[in-house]
């Protein structure tokens, strides 16, 4: 079952075209290899996260069974899966029709591009295919040598801690011992003396007492002494781990008494977790990015016929269908579009955010263009400004009449004007340059196209019908590569001609304007515009949309992405809300019954944003650190849960999510010494945790942050103290410590 048989030439040709277009738009990715698989195979591959081989485990079986069932009942079709390797592998469903396959290939290009260019992916091991295969093989060997029960049991244990890694450690160094001996001594000397505060400007000497009071200097000295002591302790090895660490697996590998094969296997699982970490971290951006470019590529001329275009838009909308919760495809996609739009139309920076005039915001596009024209001309020559403004007024009139290549219908509503006015004006401004550029391209392309045609014919393209198209494409690429004009190769001759035709109407407008053949009425300029333009001295920059999204592509992860770009306007425009579950009484034919239903709770932007940000923090996993491996000076392990407002689950399924986990870590730690986990609990016995209380009430949820209280609690798992009854049974204990208060996280 080789792929050549299943990847028909027709699809291959589309693949070339789609990848060429993607590169033309600026995407940059490693070669992609597609595998066409049946639905069953797709479920199996997805169960393995996209890798053809992965170590055996029953949960792969569970995932596979579940996906096959879902597919069978039609509740979920997985369109594609892409993995972050070199070469990039992607899987397509065999039963998709051609439009869907093309669409999916465009989507895959987006994914591959983000994988390659986002900074968070830099340290990933792109030879992971080999790593996974080697892991699978190694597991087999261990099973052979050490027995299936032992190995599988151990594997199950460590899977409980699979995701508890320090995701930021990929990008920074946390080692305490990074310095050499001399450096450390020097450091110590430097720190013994508290650094005095020195003012920027010279002050009279008696001020020094107020800037650096004696008490503060004394405090600093003691504090520094403690710090130095702590550092010395670390070096001596008295504090283990040197600093609280989130990377539990690494900690166990280093300090737990495990056999070499166990340590090796743990290291492999940890490696897998770190490999997937950037993908989980940028999931929202990924899906949005891929959908964005899927749309761009597929709506490019020549990709779809008009009827196919209709089907495609429906599917795109379908994938983005809102359902109950957040659809990551949709949210990501909308944010990317918003960024592009905002940076294209100047809706960013102080000029936008601090603008106090409602009227300006309502007519932003015209104002933005006004500002650019003012920047260019008003300071030096006011008549030049008014000429240009008149030109703009005429331009708008012609645009709305449908004479400049944009259909008239696009400007019926203000919404559409927003989308296209600035874009059209920018194109017009640069029309001369663009015209020149495309003309030059056309001229340069013609001889190369002829040569490619000639060579292709020589090679027999006209005779070998089946491969002729592919042969032509490959020959063309080679010819351009030979001449070192690959940037030219990104365009086809037809596309260039089409662009020229598009520009033509703008050029005509320009000619007519110069000949004063156009009538217009000047668009009035309100007073505020002048006021605001003068206040904001920085030049208005338009058309930066593309540049901005490529910047964001490189440097952001989901959390930063949401933090910066999920704005109030965005939230309100797309009508986000928070919903909660309530018990309501409903009338049914057989009487009334109580049912749990979702209702809209609030549209408060602040609350929505806090909730979203919480969701995307740390993979939505609780933050648990190993604080001490020698707790109580008895070799006991001490873990701390950094409580950020939500309790750990210690009651579901008979407390499985606390008891079993602590039990496992107890076993991993040797099975003799106790392990402790400190956390905070808000749930009182027989009562609900804090989030339940306002669920069930009618009270209106407020904007303010709620203050909540809880108890600090220590869960520990181990044998009972010597001398007590049954001291050979290990069990979970819970000790309540002090009371704490905190703010609700959302």
């Amino acid at each position: 079952m080789t792929d050549e048989l299943r990847f028909p030439t027709e699809l291959k040709l589309w693949k070339y075209k789609i990848e060429r277009l993607a590169r033309r738009f600026g995407l940059n990715f490693h070669p992609v290899i597609y595998h066409i698989v049946t639905a069953q195979e797709m479920s199996e591959v997805v169960a393995r996260h996209g890798f053809p081989t992965a170590p055996h485990h029953w949960r792969v079986g569970q995932e596979s069974v579940r996906l096959k069932k879902r597919f069978r009942f039609g509740t979920g079709r997985i369109y594609e899966i892409v993995i972050n390797t070199i070469p990039t592998c992607a899987y397509l469903l065999q039963l998709n029709d051609t439009i869907t396959q093309k669409s999916v290939m465009a989507h895959v290009c987006g994914h591959a591009d983000l994988n390659m260019n986002n900074a968070y992916f830099d340290p990933t091991n792109r030879q992971m295919l080999n790593a996974f295969a080697s892991d699978a093989l190694q597991l087999e060997r261990y099973i052979e040598i050490f027995g299936s029960e032992r190995v599988k049991e151990f594997y199950d244990w460590i899977l409980s801690f699979e995701f508890f890694i320090d995701q930021n450690s990929l990008y920074m160094r946390r080692e305490a011992h990074a310095q050499s001996e001399d450096e450390r001594n020097e450091d110590r000397e430097k720190h013994k003396i508290p650094r005095r505060i020195t003012p920027r400007e010279e002050l009279p000497s008696y001020m020094d007492e107020f800037l650096n009071p004696q008490e503060w200097l004394e405090e600093e000295k003691t504090r520094l002494a403690e710090e130095i002591q702590a550092k010395a302790d670390i070096e001596r090895g008295a504090t283990v781990p040197p600093e609280p660490t989130k990377d539990i697996l690494a900690f166990l590998i280093r300090y737990a008494q495990l056999e070499p094969w166990q340590k090796d296997w743990m290291a492999r699982i940890r490696r897998q977790a770190y490999y997937f970490a950037p993908m989980v971290r940028t999931k929202l951006m990924h899906e949005g990015w891929a959908t964005l470019w899927q749309e761009e590529i597929m709506t490019e001329a020549g990709m779809l016929s008009s009827s196919e275009l209709f089907q495609f838009s429906n599917e795109l909308v379908g994938v983005q269908r809102k359902h109950g919760g957040i659809n990551p495809y949709r949210l990501g996609y909308e944010i990317w579009k918003d960024i592009k739009f905002r940076w294209n139309t100047g809706r960013h920076g102080t000029i936008w955010e601090d603008c106090p005039y409602r009227s300006i915001r309502d007519q932003w596009d015209e104002f933005a263009i006004f500002k650019t024209i003012a920047d260019e001309t008003a300071k030096s020559d006011i008549t030049a400004f008014y000429t240009r403004w008149a030109e703009f007024s005429a331009f708008v009139k012609e645009l709305k009449a449908g004479n400049l290549g944009y259909p008239q219908e696009l400007f019926i509503r203000d919404l559409f004007t927003s989308d296209h006015l600035i874009e059209a004006w920018l194109m017009y401004k640069n029309v001369e340059i663009e015209h020149e550029r495309f003309e030059r391209m056309r001229r340069e392309m013609e001889p190369l196209e002829e040569r490619a045609e000639f060579i292709a014919n020589q090679l027999g393209a006209s005779f070998l019908k089946t491969f002729s198209e592919e042969l032509r494409l490959k020959t063309r690429h080679d010819v351009y590569a030979q001449e070192d004009k690959l940037d030219l190769w990104l365009w086809t001759h037809d596309e260039v001609l089409r662009e020229l035709a598009g520009i033509k109407s703008l050029m005509d407008f320009n000619k007519r304007w110069r000949k004063n053949q156009l009538q217009h009425s000047t668009i009035p300029i309100p007073e505020e515009w002048w006021l605001w333009a003068q206040k904001c001295t920085d030049p208005m920059r338009l058309g930066l949309g593309n540049k901005k999204i490529f910047e964001v592509r490189a440097a952001y992860d989901d959390l930063m992405f949401l933090e910066e770009f999920f704005t109030k306007e965005f939230c309100e425009e797309h009508k986000y809300f928070i919903y909660k579950a309530k018990k309501v009484w409903r009338w049914t034919p057989s009487g009334s019954e109580e049912e749990k239903r979702y209702v809209i709770d609030s549209r408060s932007f602040r609350r929505i944003k806090k909730r979203l940000l919480f969701q995307y923090t740390n993979f939505y996993l609780p933050i648990i650190t190993v604080v001490d491996a020698n707790y109580d000076n008895n070799g006991e392990m001490y873990l701390r849960h950094k409580h950020n407002g939500v309790d750990l689950d210690y009651w579901s399924n008979d407390g499985m999510y606390m008891k079993d986990v602590l039990q496992r870590i107890f076993w991993l730690w040797g099975g003799k010494k106790r392990v402790h986990l400190e956390t905070i609990i808000t749930k009182k016995e027989e009562e609900r945790p804090w989030w339940f209380s306002w669920h069930q009430t009618e009270e209106k949820t407020t904007e303010d942050d709620r203050q909540l209280s809880g108890t600090r609690v220590l869960f520990s798992y181990g044998f009972r103290r010597i001398g007590e009854q049954d001291s050979n049974i290990a069990e979970l204990q819970r000790t309540d410590l002090d009371k704490v208060t905190f703010t609700a996280p959302f």
């Binding site: 595998h35 698989v37 195979e41 591959v45 169960a47 393995r48 081989t53 055996h56 029953w58 949960r59 792969v60 079986g61 569970q62 596979s64 069974v65 579940r66 295919l129 199950d156 409980s160 508890f164 109950g324 919760g325 957040i326 659809n327 990551p328 949709r330 797309h574 009508k575 986000y576 809300f577 928070i578 919903y579 909660k580 579950a581 049914t588 034919p589 057989s590 049912e595 749990k596 239903r597 979702y598 209702v599 809209i600 929505i608 909730r611 969701q615 939505y620 996993l621 609780p622 939500v646 750990l648 689950d649 210690y650 579901s652 499985m656 999510y657 606390m658 986990v661 749930k683 989030w691």
Partner: protein
């Protein structure tokens, strides 16, 4: 790169299924009681059990997914739909695990079922077997179609002829070809096989209306009864009878949906049963199971008639008579009761009578079915079949 090595997913799936079937076996009572067991008629009778996935214990937030962020129109307070306990998106981890549906073959399920409900195998009544004649291809004959040639025998026949004629002289090599006369053809023979047959007759009172929940529980009960009988007998036939003050035989769909609401005379159902049995199902050949679902409400004078027919004519010929008491909605009952008229006996009366009169009978079973849970349906099955009739 080929995907041929993906074949080894079967090992993972097998391992997983072994684990989860063990779990099903342990917890089957709970799944049955929760109504999560569905018998699929179409896929060769596979039994589907909806259950939670096996999760690897790990630290997670105790926050339920009951709150989240969504998109769309509406004011605060707007209703968005029922809470779906299934999968949750990225935002929440859910309090339960995800749902998964596991298929069991009828054999596996039967084994667990018997174990869990402690049901004995049904002992079919000795002489109630029917002999079915079947044609089986066990013999040979001289004539037949080309496709049914028995090549080996034909060749041997040719060999015999060749030896007889002296053409075949080992060790010389001879080619022996069968001629037309030499051919033997596979042919059929009539074979009588004993088959145990079962007939299940459902009877329901449709003068009251059955709510949606009731309906679910009742059809669950019926499915499981049929499953159990089908596993114990070679063949199962089903008859559905509904009645108010007249009885009628219907098909399965109508049985559950119909709602007539006339007066109520329960004995008509029994009369109809007898009619059906005498007409189509000779008692000597069929094991008959009679299931009567009602709320025990009846026309006052009819109670005696019912009991007489039951005792004298039905019980002698059926393997088991099972009475299931369900709750109906009769809107007019409360005001009628207040008026003090006595034409109709209150709901539950018939059940009481059956219980008291036939408590010691060998083949009568009584069960109460409540609409709120499927547990009652499971209890009913136990009661119906625990004597092994």
């Amino acid at each position: 790169m080929s995907l041929s090595r993906t074949g080894n997913i079967k090992a993972d799936e097998a391992e997983y299924l072994a684990i989860i079937k063990g779990k099903i076996r342990q917890d089957l009572r709970r799944y049955l009681g929760a109504g999560n067991v569905t018998i699929r008629q179409k896929d060769g009778g596979l039994i589907s059990i909806a259950m939670h996935e096996i999760e690897i214990p790990t630290w997670r937030y105790g926050f339920p997914p009951d709150e989240g962020v969504g998109e769309g129109d509406g004011e605060p307070g707007k209703d968005l739909g029922p809470v779906d306990e299934d999968e949750h998106g990225k935002g929440g981890q859910g309090h339960g695990s995800r749902k998964i549906v596991i298929d069991l073959t009828p054999e596996e399920f039967e084994e667990y079922f018997m174990e869990v409900l402690e049901l004995p195998r049904i002992k079919p009544k000795g002489d109630r077997t029917i002999f079915e004649e079947r044609e089986k291809y066990t013999t040979l004959s001289r004539k037949g179609p080309l496709a049914m040639r028995h090549l080996r025998r034909s060749w041997m026949e040719a060999l015999k002829r060749a030896i007889g004629e002296g053409q075949f002289k080992p060790p010389e090599k001879t080619v022996v070809t069968p001629r037309n006369d030499d051919f033997w053809f596979k042919s059929w023979d009539v074979v009588r096989e004993p088959k145990n047959n079962a007939l299940i007759i459902y009877k329901r009172d449709v003068s009251g209306s059955m709510g949606a929940r009731e309906r679910r529980v009742v059809s669950y009960l019926c499915n499981l009864c049929e499953f159990w009988l089908a596993r114990n007998y070679d063949r199962l036939e089903k008859v559905y009878i509904i009645h108010d003050d007249q009885a009628e035989e219907v098909d399965q769909e109508r049985f559950f949906i119909e709602d007539w609401g006339g007066g109520t005379m329960c004995s008509t159902a029994l009369a109809k049963t007898i009619e059906v049995i005498e007409g189509r199902f000779p008692v000597s050949q069929w094991n008959i199971y009679s299931v009567y679902l009602s709320d025990g409400f009846n026309f006052g004078n009819d109670n005696e008639t019912f009991v007489n027919i039951l005792g004298e004519r039905i019980l002698p010929i059926v393997n088991q008579f099972s009475y299931g008491q369900i709750g109906y909605t009769r809107d007019w009952w409360p005001s009628y009761k207040q008026s003090g008229a006595n034409t109709f006996s209150s709901p539950g009366t018939l059940g009481q009578i059956i219980l008291s009169r036939f408590a010691s009978a060998e083949n009568v079973a009584f069960a109460e079915i409540s609409p709120d849970n499927f547990e009652s349906a499971i209890d009913a099955i136990r009661k119906f079949f625990q004597k092994g009739n």
